[in-house]
């Protein structure tokens, strides 16, 4: 099962801002299911990595306290045409990835 990601990036003056929207429930494992009295099982994205032209740039770790359908924005030194790749996985092992070329 792959996780859906929408990503955009634009470079101005050598600095690119990359924005990504990820479709994911981000269940923290704390929220209670009132019908059963037990918490909903944890299901959240825990690692996100971004590479620029194949070189590591951002290595991020998340907890279940990141909002559902997470938004993330980062800045990298990159120019138009550079390849940005985002790879992520959640605590059940489901993964998602997206590659874009900077505008």
């Amino acid at each position: 099962m792959s996780i859906k990601i929408r990503m955009r990036g634009k470079s101005t003056g050598g600095v690119a801002e990359i924005k990504a929207l990820i479709k994911h429930p981000m269940e923290s494992g704390v929220r209670m299911n009132k019908k059963t009295g037990k918490p909903f099982p944890a299901l959240f994205i825990d690692t996100v990595t971004v590479t620029v032209n194949g070189a590591a740039a951002v290595d991020s770790q998340w907890s279940g306290a990141v909002s559902a359908n997470p938004y993330m924005a980062i800045q990298v030194k990159a120019n138009a045409g550079d390849e940005i790749k985002l790879v992520l996985s959640d605590n059940t092992g489901a993964t998602g990835e997206e590659t874009i070329k900077l505008k």
């Binding site: 600095v15 981000m26 923290s28 704390v30 929220r31 209670m32 825990d46 690692t47 990595t49 971004v50 620029v52 070189a55 590591a56 740039a57 951002v58 290595d59 991020s60 770790q61 998340w62 907890s63 279940g64 306290a65 990141v66 909002s67 559902a68 997470p70 938004y71 993330m72 924005a73 980062i74 800045q75 990298v76 030194k77 990159a78 605590n91 059940t92 092992g93």
Partner: protein, 155 residues
Amino acid sequence: MKRRSFLKGTLATGAAAVAVNAGLLTPSTVLAAWNKEAFTAKSTDAALTSVYGSAAAAASGDIQLKAPAIAENGAVTPVTVDATGMTGVESIAILASKNPVPLVATYAFSGAAMGYASTRIKMGETMNVIAVVKAGGKLFKAEQEVKVTIGGCGG
């Protein structure tokens, strides 16, 4: 099938933890493994100690922490940490002081990355958002109180 991948996962993280303890891996190569200790720590100090080895961070005006003064919906609180004005930024951690698990996210930077991270976080009640920046081997922090009118945990 799920059970199998769960077992595999726990074995793998266990092995990674052993390797760290034995000093086989340097911190930079371990970054890919999810820091379970930090993300289960119940206090901001314990979480910071687990991530950075120390909880002593100096307040810095160079960190621009953007968060709303009043969050209408605690489940989606936009937080932006801009440390691009600092030199040698290695990583950023975002914490919410009163959450059951305070550590929300960590970002480690290398190569082309700049010291900037923006995300949206869940907050259960009114509390401080803390941004900790590691730059040039030292820890700096910025704090801001966010008033939450509707909780983020199913109210």
